[in-house]
């Protein structure tokens, strides 16, 4: 019994940085779950990835200006991420280029810019930490930032839930009844960027999108409705955060990849054994029903 307490609970009781990290993971999980679910439903999974790369030059710029300051890098990330999202949306609406293509173009440009900025400063251990995750160094300001972003996300989602779902399901109809589809789409992109920024303070820009996508992609195999799938996604994300932190603590590996890998395991399990559309379900033998 004591062995399990030592293994599963003690690290969090003993070390404040572990408690901080766990709190950040839970907050991230709650914010990222519904946003990730919508990314999946809107077939924008890869755009989330593109946006996460777009956040990088912003963070790098912040770092260049004021060193390892959370606020500078956060503001930089939000500003650049939103600019890319807005420009991509604008290019798609004004020209004939589709949104995914304009996203790809803009994120490549900003990624190149980010790498250029980093190389100007030379390699830096601090910067590597920022880019690849420092969840074990989540301090009070970072925790407050993540929690605030989660709060904003959950409330915004609650307010624009209905038009967002309709815009996702039948944009033409929403337009025809005078719904503000474009506004909803924009607000949603803001939420995506905010959650990516929340993620990168904890997991690094490369891993941030993992907390958005992996739980959501897994949840699709377990629930059929948006709200229930979001709940499942949040639970998976919390499990991944908790187990990943423990792995990181006991095996002395970086926390970001550990968390995302646990989420990856959940995804693999769901692909094989999920309730809906999994490999197991599709190939299970059995007679068909009468009606």
């Amino acid at each position: 019994m004591n062995f399990f307490v030592d293994l599963l609970i003690e690290p969090f009781r003993e070390y404040i940085f572990m408690r901080h990290a766990l709190a950040a993971c839970v907050a991230l999980a709650i914010g990222c779950a519904p946003v990730g679910m919508l990314l999946v439903l809107r077939r924008m999974s890869l755009m989330g990835d593109a946006l996460s790369h777009a956040v990088l030059p912003g963070a790098a710029l912040g770092f260049l200006v004021s060193g390892l300051s959370l606020y500078a890098m956060t503001v930089g990330g939000i500003v650049v991420g939103l600019t890319v999202a807005l420009l991509a949306g604008a290019v798609a609406r004004v020209t004939a280029l589709r949104e995914d293509a304009s996203f790809a173009a803009l994120y490549l440009i900003s990624l190149a810019l980010g790498v250029l900025i980093i190389s100007m400063r030379g390699t830096s251990i601090d910067l590597v930490h920022v880019l690849f995750g420092t969840i074990l160094a989540v301090d009070d300001p970072a925790l407050i930032l993540v929690a605030s972003i989660t709060t904003v996300t959950v409330f915004t989602m609650a307010i624009i839930y209905r038009p967002l779902i309709v815009e996702c399901f039948d944009p033409g109809f929403l337009r025809s009844v005078g719904g503000k589809g474009a506004t909803m789409h924009f607000l949603f992109l803001v939420l995506v960027v905010l959650n990516l920024v929340a993620g990168f303070t904890a997991l690094g820009t490369l891993m941030a999108v993992g907390m958005l996508m992996l739980p959501a992609a897994s949840a699709n195999f377990w629930a059929r409705q948006f709200w229930s799938a979001s709940l499942v996604a949040a639970i998976i994300a919390v499990i991944a955060g908790y187990s990943g932190l423990l792995l990181s603590f006991h095996l002395n590996v970086p926390s970001g990849p550990a968390i995302i890998l646990v989420a990856g395991l959940c995804y693999a399990f769901s692909v094989f054994f999920g309730r809906y559309g999994s490999i197991y379900r599709r190939h299970k033998a059995g007679g068909h029903l009468t009606g």
């Binding site: 439903l41 307010i159 624009i160 209905r162 038009p163 779902i165 309709v166 996702c168 399901f169 039948d170 944009p171 033409g172 109809f173 929403l174 337009r175 025809s176 009844v177 005078g178 719904g179 059929r224 409705q225 948006f226 799938a229």
Partner: protein
Amino acid sequence: MTTITLTDLTLGYERHPAVHHLSGSFQPGSMTAVVGPNGSGKSTLLKGIVGILRPLGGHITRQNLKKHQIAYLPQQLEIDRSFPITVLDTVILGLWRQIGIFGGMKRDLWSRAEQALQAVGLAGFEMRAIGNLSGGQFRRVMFARMLLQDSAVVVLDEPFTSIDSQTTIDLLKVIERWYKEKRTIIAVLHDFSQVHDHFPETLLIARELIAWGPTAEVMTDKHLTLSRTMSEAWDDEAEICAEEGL
């Protein structure tokens, strides 16, 4: 009651007209079939009427009718059929103007939704996911949603293509009901017998107006032959249309 008037209307894409110099009006409570060969500009005309497409020339007046008061069934729906949503929720979207972003469903709205589903023969399908419906059943769902929209003007772009005869008969009944309720109906159709049997007015176009009026006077051999001679080609070297408008 609103008259929709077209004045020397030209609609098209990238300066190439799909249909040009169209004038005339849809009277309130009229029921008009829009007929013409493929590529004659029927869908483009409907997009102009509902206000999705801005005219290249001329104009459309809808009097005090707002764009969102027109129920429109496009030929190509933008709907994601794999979206996890039930038949009932899809139909209830027709009440968007009443419930909006925050409004709840009152008891009378629930019963209206129930009646709409019954009218299209989908009672008992409420909780089915739309991904599990056949093409015909899904068309019924779209009609139920338009029933709830309760619009003064209903615009339908090929509502019966790839739909079996029973579904067509049921949905034609819904259209007849709208006509009795004095709504204005504009529908693109390809089946001439449907046009003859159900639609008092016909608008025949072939990238320009061929004839517009009572169905029997429009659907003559002379007009139909004329409509088949139209040119479908886009001429990139085309000059600016010299046919003078008003």
